[in-house]
C-alpha cells in the first residue's frame, strides 16, 4: 500500500480526503530512483477544478511516456487543509509518490485564469520554495509557468524561473534533455536558465530588464545579456492528428467538474471575435482527422469507463467533420448509454437534430452567445451572429420542443451606449415573442429565457487590448440598465437576468494587462490573507484595495486609460503569429463598426499564415 503524506487523523477530519490520496485509475506510478527528472504538474486550484483540465492530462501523459521522466500532480489544498499544513508545518506533496514538492526537479504551474495568482504563491509557500525566483538555491525545483495567462507573464515574472509560451506539445523534450545534461555536469541553476532561454518558446524573466517612462508606461524591455533572444516565439503544434493525446486519462474517485472523456476535435478558431484571446493566440485553426478522433474516443472510453464524452473546441460547428464524429459516437455507443455532450455549437438545423438525439429536449436548454445586444455593437466586436440567425434558431428549436434559452452578453465593451445595453432586453423579448407565436396547444408551457452578463476584460493579443475599463459603480449601472429594461418588457415574467460582480472584473483587468510592478500587489495581498480569489466566498475586494495601497501601486493606471497605439505593452516581446499591425487594424475597424470575414471566407492577413498550416493552407469554399 502506498504510504500517504497525511495521517488518518488529518484525512478523516477534512473535507473530501480523496483530493489528497492519489491512486486513481490511470494515474502513473514509477520508481523514483529509476528516473532522471521528477516533474510536479500543478493546477493552482482545488482538485475538482484542476482534475478537469485537459491540458494537464495531455502533458501528464506525454511526459510519462518518457522513461526518464516521472510527472506527478499537485493541486491547491483546500482552506481546511491549508490551515492544518501551516500549523503543523507539513510540506506540500505530490499525489502519486506523496513526496514533498521541494524534492522535485520541476514544479510546473498552469495559469488558466488571473484569479488563481494568490494560489500560485500558496503552492510555492506550502512547498517551502522561496516565493521570489532570485532567492532560490541550486537544489530548489525549477518553477515553470504555462497556459493562456503566460501570454502576459509579467505580473508573475518575479515568482517564476521560466515560462513556457505556447502549446505544450513542442519543446518540453528539449527542455528535459537540457536539464538532464546540466544536472549530470553539475551546471548551476543560473547557467541552466541561461541555456534554457535559447530554446524557442522559453522565457526566463530574470534575464530581461524593463525600464519605465515618467508617466509609468514602459520605456524599454530588453535582455540583460547579449546572447539572450529579444523576442519569444509562441510554440504551436501544427500537426494535430499526430500530436500526443492521452488514451488513458486519469479517472478521479470523486466527482470533478469535468467528469467525462474530453475529445479535443480541433484547436484554434476561424471567427476572429475581437474580444477573444483564445481566438487570437491559438490561430490558426487546426483540425484533427476524423479517423484519429474515432480512435481516441474508443480508447479513452474503454480505458476510463466514463459514461459521457464531450467534444471540445472553441467553436464545434466549424469542425468540418462534425456530422461524421457525432454520428459515429451515437451509433457506436448508444447501446452502452454513453452521453454525448456538445458545447459551443451554433444553433442550426443540424445541431438541433443532433441535440434531439443525444439529450432530453425537455430538460436541456439552448445557448446563444450574442455577446452584445445591438447589431452595431456586435459589429464592433466582430461577433458574426445576427439577430435574424438567433431568432431563426430559436424558432426552429421551439418548434422542436425546447423551451429554455440561455443568452450570454458582455457589458462594458468599447463604444457601448445606453441603447446597446437596452437592446439586450429587446433581444430577449423578441425571442420570447417567437415562442408565444406558437399556438398554445403546440407549445410546452411557458418559456424560460435566462440572460447573463459578464463585464468585458480587455486581454493581451486581442484587437481590444488597448481599451479602457470602467469604475465598479459604472459597471453596476450598466447591469441596472439591463435589469430595468427587462422589467419593462411585455414578457418579462419569462426572462431571468443574472449579472456578475464588478470588482473581480477590475482585478482581472489589472492582472491580464499588468506589468512587473503588479507582483508587489499580489505578494502583499497574499500576505494579507488573499487565497482562492476565484471563489466568491473567499473573495475580498477591500483586502485587494489595501494591497494596492500598501504596495503603492495605482490601480487606475492599469484599468482606466486607453493605451496609446505606440505604447510598449508588457507582452510585446512575445510573438504569437497574429501581428500587432493586424491587431491595430482590427482596433481601427472596431471603431468603424466594420466586420472582418472569418478565416474560411477570406484570409485577412493576421500573420498566423507564417505557421504554414491549418486553415491558412486549406482551399477556401
Amino acid at each position: 500500500m502506498r504510504k500517504l503524506a497525511l495521517s488518518d487523523e488529518i484525512l478523516l477530519s477534512i473535507e473530501k480526503p480523496a483530493r489528497y490520496i492519489g491512486g486513481e485509475v490511470n494515474s502513473v506510478m514509477k520508481e523514483k530512483d529509476g528516473v532522471s527528472v521528477r516533474f510536479a504538474m500543478c493546477f493552482p486550484d482545488v482538485y475538482e477544478i484542476g482534475m478537469s483540465h485537459l491540458g494537464i492530462q495531455i502533458l501528464y501523459d506525454m511526459f510519462n511516456r518518457r522513461e526518464d521522466v516521472w510527472c506527478e500532480r499537485v493541486y491547491s489544498p483546500w482552506v481546511d487543509l491549508d490551515k492544518l499544513m501551516r500549523e503543523r508545518q507539513i510540506p506540500l506533496f505530490a499525489l502519486e509518490s506523496q513526496d514533498p514538492i521541494r524534492e522535485f526537479d520541476f514544479l510546473g504551474i498552469t495559469l488558466q485564469y488571473e484569479m488563481c495568482y494568490t494560489n500560485v504563491l500558496q503552492i510555492l509557500d506550502l512547498s517551502g520554495i522561496p516565493l521570489l525566483a532570485e532567492e532560490r538555491g541550486d537544489n530548489c525545483p525549477i518553477v515553470i509557468g504555462g497556459g493562456p495567462c503566460a501570454y502576459n507573464p509579467e505580473p508573475l515574472a518575479v515568482f517564476f524561473d521560466l515560462f513556457y509560451i505556447g502549446e505544450g506539445e513542442t519543446v518540453y523534450d528539449e527542455l528535459f534533455d537540457l536539464y538532464k545534461k546540466c544536472k549530470e555536469n553539475g551546471v548551476s541553476r543560473k547557467d541552466f536558465l541561461r541555456r534554457a532561454a535559447q530554446i524557442p518558446g522559453i522565457y526566463v524573466p530574470s534575464l530581461y530588464e524593463v525600464t519605465y517612462n515618467e508617466d509609468g508606461t514602459i520605456a524599454s524591455f530588453a535582455p540583460t545579456e547579449p546572447d539572450i533572444p529579444a523576442v519569444i516565439e509562441k510554440q504551436v503544434q501544427m500537426d494535430m492528428t499526430g500530436a500526443p493525446y492521452p488514451d488513458a486519462p486519469i479517472v478521479p474517485f470523486i466527482k470533478v467538474t469535468q467528469d467525462r472523456v474530453v475529445l479535443e476535435i480541433q484547436r484554434g478558431c476561424i471567427r476572429g471575435c475581437r474580444f477573444c484571446q483564445a481566438g487570437m493566440i491559438y490561430r490558426p485553426l487546426r483540425e484533427r482527422s476524423l479517423a484519429c478522433l474515432k480512435e481516441h474516443a474508443d480508447k479513452m472510453l474503454a480505458s476510463t469507463g466514463h459514461e459521457e464524452i464531450s467534444l471540445s473546441s472553441l467553436s464545434s460547428s466549424d469542425y468540418s467533420e462534425l456530422p461524421g464524429i457525432v454520428n459515429y459516437l451515437i451509433d457506436q455507443y448508444q447501446d452502452e448509454k454513453i452521453n454525448i455532450s456538445l458545447p459551443s455549437l451554433r444553433i442550426d438545423a443540424f445541431s438541433l437534430d443532433v441535440m434531439s438525439k443525444v439529450q432530453d429536449v425537455r430538460k436541456s436548454s439552448l445557448t446563444f452567445a450574442p455577446e452584445a445586444g445591438s447589431q452595431r455593437l456586435r459589429d464592433v466586436i466582430n461577433k458574426g451572429l445576427t439577430e435574424e440567425v438567433i431568432l431563426q434558431g430559436a424558432d426552429e428549436a421551439f418548434h422542436g420542443g425546447w423551451n429554455k434559452v440561455k443568452l450570454y452578453f458582455m457589458l462594458g465593451l468599447p463604444t457601448e451606449t445606453e441603447e446597446d445595453r437596452k437592446e439586450i432586453a429587446h433581444l430577449a423579448e423578441k425571442i420570447a415573442e417567437k415562442y408565444y407565436e406558437i399556438p398554445k396547444d403546440q407549445r410546452n408551457g411557458k418559456c424560460q429565457i435566462t440572460v447573463s452578463t459578464s463585464f468585458f476584460v480587455p486581454k493581451p493579443f486581442t484587437p481590444l487590448q488597448w481599451a479602457s475599463m470602467f469604475q465598479p459603480g459604472d459597471y453596476l449601472g450598466f447591469a441596472k440598465t439591463v435589469n430595468h429594461e427587462i422589467k419593462e418588457m411585455l414578457n418579462q415574467k419569462s426572462i431571468r437576468y443574472n449579472w456578475h460582480h464588478a470588482d473581480v472584473t477590475l482585478l482581472e483587468g489589472v492582472f491580464a494587462r499588468g506589468d512587473r510592478r503588479i507582483a508587489d500587489v499580489i505578494l502583499e495581498a497574499y500576505r494579507l490573507g488573499a487565497l482562492y480569489d476565484a471563489w466568491t466566498e473567499y473573495w475580498d475586494y477591500d483586502r485587494w484595495l489595501q494591497a494596492f495601497e500598501n504596495a503603492g501601486v495605482d490601480m487606475d493606471f492599469y484599468t482606466m486609460r486607453e493605451r496609446g497605439l505606440d505604447e510598449i505593452l508588457p507582452w510585446d516581446f512575445i510573438r504569437v503569429g497574429v501581428t500587432k499591425e493586424f491587431l491595430k487594424k482590427e482596433w481601427q475597424k472596431a471603431h468603424e463598426e466594420s466586420v472582418t470575414p472569418n478565416c474560411r471566407e477570406k484570409c485577412s492577413g493576421c500573420g498566423a499564415a507564417a505557421y504554414r498550416g491549418g486553415v491558412c493552407t486549406m482551399r477556401r469554399a
Binding site: 500500500m1 502506498r2 488518518d8 485509475v25 470523486i254
Partner: protein, 285 residues
Amino acid sequence: MKAEGVSTVKARVKFSKQGNMKFIGHLDVMRYFQKAIRRAGIDIAYTEGLSPHMIMSFASPLCVGLTSDAEYMDIELRTPVSSREAIDALNRVSVEGITVTGFYEIPEGKANKAMTLVAAADYTVRFRAGYEPEKIDLKSAVEEFYAQDEILVWKKTKKSEREVDIRPMIYEMRYVPAAGRSGAQTEPDSAVGKKALDPSAVFLRLASGSAANLKPELVMDTMLGRYGIEPSPLAYEINRCELYADTGSEKLQHPAEHDGKAEYEAGAGANRILTSLCALGREIL
C-alpha cells in the same frame, strides 16, 4: 427499477475495500463501479426511460474511514458471464485497495436483493496507534460487557432522547488477541497473512440493516464509557468482515449449499439463522 425489455441474469458482486480506499465515500464507490464495469466490458442492464442508468444496488453503505472485506452490490447482466471471468475482468481494471472476491448468480425477486436482506454484520475493531486505552484490560472489559443481560444507551432522536437496550442487537462479542485475526467467515486469502502482527482487537457481530441497526462505534464507546473513557471518533480502526441475511425468519431460496451458515441460539431472535450474502448466490460457471 426495471430493466429495458431484455431478459437478464441477476448477479451479486462481493469486494473488499482496504487501505487508502477507506477515504472514498459510498457514493464514490458506486461511481467507481459504474466506470469499472464499463472498463471491464461487463454487459450490464440499464433502466428504461430517458436517462437510463445501470441497474446496481449496494447492500449496505460503508462510512468513510472504515475498511471492509465484504462489500456487496447486486447488478443485472444483459449477457451472462462466468464468475471467474467477471472477477478477473473487474480486478484487471481495478485500483489498489479494491478487489472483487466473488461474483454469484442470485435468485429473482425483490426479497432477494442484498439491500433488503442485510440483517447482521461482523466487524473487528482495533485501536488506532496512539489511541489505545491504557487503564483497562481489554479482554476482561469485553467479557464483562458482553456478559450483561441488558445494556442501556441514551439515544437521541429528533424529538426526544430515550433509553435503548442495545444488548439484543449484539449477537456476538469477543476479544481477539494480538498477532491473530478473527475467525469470522472471511475469504481464506483476504489479508490474513499480511495482518499477522495486528494488535489485539474486538470482534463484533451486530444487527445491521433496516429493521435494527447497531454501529460498532456505539458499542465500543459504551463499553469504554463504563471506564470513564471519553469517546473519540478517531480512536478505532474498524473493518467490516461479513454481511449476513437472516434465513431463519424469512422464506428465502437457497440455491447454494449452506456452507456460510451460522446458527444462533443466544439473544432475542431464537430462529435467527445468519447466512452470508455470498452464500445465497451460486457461482456462475
